[in-house]
């Protein structure tokens, strides 16, 4: 059974948050929706779980009892302790006390939260709170686990623990979809959808997206001049320049590199930007 959305379009007044976006979320795998702030990730995930009704398009999701959701704003009640937060969730989803206790204990232990059991969630660090939020969302073994930017702003150790939870959920057969602004995370998923300004920028497995970059990318230590400057960006100590048609222009120098996911998404965003600003401009 595969969940997902097809042709999703959402408008808020005259702002289009999502336009014709489709995404499949297969069971037992991790799918990543990647994009910057305002790209439409949260809107897409909210439509998927039913917190928002789209203007157009189709949603396939299991019933509320079999969905686990962690919103980007929070997942936990700051005035309740870790245990109380989990207990509330357990009751709301109708799972038995005994089962919850064991499962929760195992997860809390694995993510280093056992000592904080009786601490109010508001007193936890950001990383611990997010871990609690994910545990809460997957406690009832949902078929569809949706996490909105679970790792933004949290420390690397908590992030590693969080990914363990994600892997665990997927290994239990859940269809896991997570939104992230980080490409190195998206690279860990088995399928990536990159969004930019409400539209799909690229999709596929990380390798396939990287391989599908048209033209070539070259790196150089000096900033390219002239027209090539519009197609360059800085990465680390060097500049990268994209030549859409592969052939070297006079201005592009440097050694070609094999593009990775980061490059692919950057190029796609660049291409869109150039398209928008070109006034009937040169054929790419």
């Amino acid at each position: 059974m595969s969940w997902g959305v097809r042709g999703m379009t959402v408008r808020f007044g005259d702002h289009t948050a999502l336009e014709g976006v489709s995404l499949e979320v297969p069971a037992g795998r991790v799918t990543a929706v990647v994009g910057g702030d305002g790209a439409g990730k949260t809107t897409l995930l909210r439509c998927l779980v039913g917190a928002l009704a789209p203007d157009d398009g189709e949603v396939r999701r299991p019933d509320a009892r079999r969905i686990g959701y962690l919103s980007s704003t929070s997942g936990t009640y700051p005035d309740l302790t870790v245990e109380e937060n989990l207990a509330f969730s357990a009751t709301a989803y109708g799972i038995s006390e005994a089962e919850t206790r064991e499962r929760a204990a195992a997860f809390l232990d694995r993510t280093g939260l056992t000592e904080a059991r009786d601490r109010p969630a508001g007193n936890l660090s950001g990383g611990m709170r997010q871990k609690l939020g994910v545990i809460r969302a997957m406690l009832h073994r949902p078929e569809l686990l949706v996490l909105d930017e679970p790792t933004t702003g949290i420390d690397p150790v908590s992030r590693a623990d969080l990914w363990w939870l994600i892997a665990r959920a997927a290994s239990e057969g859940a269809a896991v979809v997570l939104a992230t602004a980080y490409l190195d995370e998206a690279e860990r998923a088995s399928w990536v959808l990159a969004l930019d300004d409400g539209r799909a920028l690229a999709e596929g497995t990380p390798d396939r997206i990287a391989a599908a970059v048209p033209g070539t990318i070259r790196t150089s230590t000096a900033r390219p001049s002239g027209d090539a400057a519009r197609r360059s960006w800085r990465r680390g100590a060097r500049w990268r320049t994209w030549s859409p048609d592969g052939a070297g222009d006079a201005a592009s120098q440097g050694d070609p590199v094999r593009p990775d996911l980061h490059d692919a998404v950057t190029v796609a965003a660049l291409a869109r930007e150039l398209e928008r600003s070109d006034v009937g401009g040169e054929a790419a």
Binding site: G50, A51, R65, Y69, G75, A92, Y93
Partner: protein, 354 residues
């Protein structure tokens, strides 16, 4: 710093509203409403000498009915039912002025006016003032019911709105929307504790009033309870409505205060309605608190019944239905996706054509 602060203030509409609204309110209240002097006291004159006496009654008494055939029983009933605050009961040999002791300032005003009359009365005519329901004119008698009303108001409005806004601030409202909980469950679950707390608080205050201050409780508990429940619907509804237009606790408190202060000042809780000029008094008649104070005082001090106080109950019921109804609607909308759309295929068992 100064420039920056002013710029930010200019954009903070709620604070600006308070800055403008508060002085105006204070002006109205202290200019017009805040007065303990009663200018006009409606009275009935009963008994054999009614016609004669009513013809010569001076200000501030304003005769609204004369009934020679009525006697003491009718007088007490009229007072208990809140129909008039003062009844002149005439007999062959004298005059008894029966006064509703739950209307403190009218009572003191009446006492003073009657002693002036007594001085000018012909010899042999006995003029007597009898204060019913609250013979010692204790302030606590009328304050305690008022306090009970204030508690319901505060807990219902401020505390409830804070509780609901906290959910929105923490970002957990959206989570609730996605859980397998019905909107009704969430709504009732959120306000039930405040209902219980408010009711308990009120009971404690009333019991303390009775035991510690000797405040009477002459009427039926049911009458008071019914009034309290209806009033709670109004205040809880207001609390939820306030939270639905507030993004954080600070805003909720500001709005709640703006709704509470006028009610406390103009509902007859502190300053009697009868001493406000008509131009300001009508505001009091629009406020739910006015009606519950009426009910609380009437039931506790005078022993009035539901039947005689029915206009207050009806007003509260209607107001409550409207406010609570609106609150439910708004809350529901913040939980469920606004039934905006079509095109939502949710087949759980449908085979998916990829």
């Amino acid at each position: 710093m100064i420039v920056k602060e002013f710029r930010q203030l200019r954009r903070d509409r709620r604070t600006l509203a308070m800055l403008i609204f508060m002085p105006i309110l204070m002006l109205v209240v202290f200019g017009y409403a805040a007065s303990f002097d009663v200018k006009e006291i409606p009275v009935r004159v009963l008994g054999p000498a009614a016609e004669r006496v009513s013809a010569v009654l001076p200000d501030p008494f304003a005769v609204e009915d004369v009934d020679p055939a009525a006697g003491r029983e009718e007088a007490v009933t009229a007072l208990r039912d809140g129909e008039v605050p003062v009844v002149f009961l005439t007999t062959e040999s004298g005059l008894t002025v029966l006064v509703d002791g739950s209307q403190l300032f009218i009572a003191t005003g009446t006492k003073a006016a009657v002693s002036a009359i007594a001085e000018r009365a012909p010899q042999g005519l006995a003029v007597d003032v009898e204060i019913l329901f609250n013979p010692d004119l204790e302030t606590s008698a009328i304050m305690v019911p008022g306090l009970a009303a204030m508690i319901l108001l505060f807990v219902g409005t401020i505390i409830t709105s804070l509780g609901v806004v906290r959910e929105r601030q923490a970002g957990t409202l959206e989570q609730l929307a996605v859980m397998p909980l019905r909107p009704a469950d969430v709504f009732l679950g959120k306000i039930a504790p405040y209902f219980v707390v408010a009711a308990l608080d009120m009971v404690v205050v009333i019991v303390a009033g009775i035991w510690l201050f000797g405040v009477p409780f002459r009427g039926s508990v049911l009458a008071l309870a019914l009034g309290a429940v209806l009033f709670l619907f109004v205040t809880l509804g207001l609390g939820v409505l306030i939270s639905s237009v507030s993004e954080n606790q600070g805003q909720a408190i500001q709005l709640a205060l703006m709704m509470l202060l006028p009610q406390v000042m103009l509902s007859g809780l502190i300053f009697p309605l009868s001493s406000m000029p008509a131009g300001v008094r009508w505001i009091g008649y629009l406020l739910p608190l006015t009606y519950f104070v009426e009910i609380a005082r009437g039931v506790m001090i005078r022993g009035a019944s539901i039947l005689t106080l029915w206009p207050s109950y009806v007003f509260l019921a209607i107001f409550g239905a409207v406010v609570f109804g609106l609150a439910t609607l708004r809350f529901r909308r913040s939980l469920a996706p606004a039934g905006r759309r079509r095109h939502e295929a949710e087949p759980e068992l449908e085979a998916v054509a990829s």
